[in-house]
């Protein structure tokens, strides 16, 4: 066991953990943040994606101990004061989800994508999200959601 201190969604958490504890299980089992999902075990599906210091990261392929002192944002930390983040709103409005299991990862990856590339082409969106599998929607509406978010984000940021 060792101690790890990680800032998750603006709150510092210090916990005793086994080194083999995957970060995704730290979030889900230790902190009870179950919005980050486990889909594949082999880092294909992206359902476990969180932001580590602003970068999209698959939390199933990372040990909690590696994140000492890092800042993490999960799906639970995206909305501000109960107001949905424009990316969340866009996924909802554009029906970029069905079962919703991939959605937290999709949204997180989209946030990171738009952060680096605020006006992505469709091609860039599809490749930017190629590490997030959706088995329901056929991706079409996910692309639309990202485009919508890209349009709405600058204004939201200006506020």
């Amino acid at each position: 066991m060792g101690t790890v201190s990680i800032n998750v969604n603006g709150v510092d958490f210090t916990r005793e953990v086994e080194p083999r504890l995957l970060f995704v299980h730290f979030l889900r089992d230790v902190l009870g943040l179950t919005g980050t999902h486990v889909g594949c075990d082999t880092s294909q599906c992206g359902a476990c994606t969180v932001l580590v210091d602003g970068e999209a990261t698959k939390s199933c392929t990372l040990f909690a101990v590696q994140l000492e002192g890092r800042k993490v944002t999960t799906i639970e930390g995206i909305a501000q004061a109960g107001k949905l983040h424009p990316v969340q709103q866009a996924f909802w409005d554009k029906h970029g989800l069905q079962c919703g299991f991939c959605t937290p990862g999709m949204i997180i990856t989209t946030c990171a994508l738009l952060d680096k590339n605020p006006k992505p082409t469709e091609e860039e969106i599809r490749h930017g999200l190629e590490g997030n599998i959706c088995r329901c929607t056929g991706y079409h509406n996910i692309v639309k959601a990202v485009q919508e978010a890209a349009e709405k984000l600058p204004a939201a940021r200006g506020n």
Partner: protein, 290 residues
């Protein structure tokens, strides 16, 4: 899926990391980006009593040109490579390569050093580094040594790195006038390991003849393959369609693919030929050949 128990070490310096590796010679693994290592440990295809996380060691992530070389820190992440201006401008073959590794999220953690040190013939950088004639810098308890890339891959998941050595830098000769390279990969679907892939690098002299050629092949044998005969063939030739096709044919002969779900032996050889032809063509185009 969870790995079996291990001790986690996060050394603050390279020397400390090397010392730790020396301390547990049989039982330690270097944790870089972890994007190959963690799945391996999780699926219990590998095991380690000690993980030495080199992520906390400063100064291992950089991309810079210095002394006629592009120097890439061993822990440099693929995403950094992709986004690097100097790489985009002067080493498009590296962008070709980085962009087809797994997916963008994985590339945020996966490192260039890890991609080489893993010794997986299915990884993408090895072929490119073979084509470019790169060097690998390793740091061990007896200090630093430079390993030419064509002496680096010894077998399936086996490299020239000693158990106490850490890959700290990759050096690539800076491009000269008339040089160009490209990496072309065939994958069953986006994000997959290569069914086959080919990296090609050419230097075309002012008279229009090939002065240097490098060809590396991915997932076409137990190790990444340097297609030496094809490289030699090209020297002194005009980089025209027929010569490139012949080089591609010779390169394909150097492969030792095994039949698997990605296809039969003959099919993969044929793909090696097609891909090498395409990589060479693109490399020549980038070299300004046409």
């Amino acid at each position: 899926m969870i790995p079996s128990s291990f001790d986690y070490h996060a050394p603050a310096t390279l020397a400390e990391a090397v010392a730790l590796l020396g301390k547990y010679p049989e039982d330690a693994k270097v944790l870089s980006g972890g994007q190959s290592l963690l799945p391996l440990l999780k699926l219990r295809l590998g095991q380690a009593g000690h993980l030495i996380d080199i992520g906390k060691i400063p100064g291992l992530e950089y991309i810079k040109e210095e002394g006629g070389m592009l120097r890439i820190g061993g822990r440099t992440r693929e995403s950094a490579l992709e986004r690097s201006e100097i790489v985009q401008k002067r080493y498009p073959i590296l962008v070709d390569t980085a962009k087809v590794i797994a997916d963008p999220i994985v590339r945020n953690l996966a490192t260039v050093g890890g991609n080489l040190a893993h010794g997986d013939p299915g990884n993408d950088h090895p072929a490119t580094m073979l084509a470019l004639g790169a060097q690998v810098v390793a740091m061990g308890k007896s200090g630093e040594r430079v390993i030419p890339i064509d002496k680096f891959f010894l077998g399936l998941f086996r490299t020239a790195l000693q158990p106490d050595e850490i890959l700290t830098e990759i050096r690539i000769p800076a491009p000269v006038e008339g040089s160009g390279g490209a990496y072309v990969k065939l994958e069953r679907k986006v994000g997959d390991y290569a069914t086959a892939a080919s990296a090609a690098y050419v230097v075309i002299g002012t008279q229009g003849f090939v002065e240097r050629a490098g060809i590396g092949l991915t997932n076409l044998g137990p190790t990444p393959i340097k297609a030496t005969a094809a490289e030699k063939y090209l020297i002194g030739k005009k980089p025209e369609t027929a010569a490139l096709a012949e080089a591609a044919r010779i390169a394909a002969q150097a492969t030792e693919p095994s039949a698997d779900r990605r296809g039969a032996v003959e099919y993969k050889r044929e793909m090696a030929r097609v891909l090498t032809g395409r990589a060479l063509k693109k490399a020549v185009e980038r070299a300004g050949g046409k």
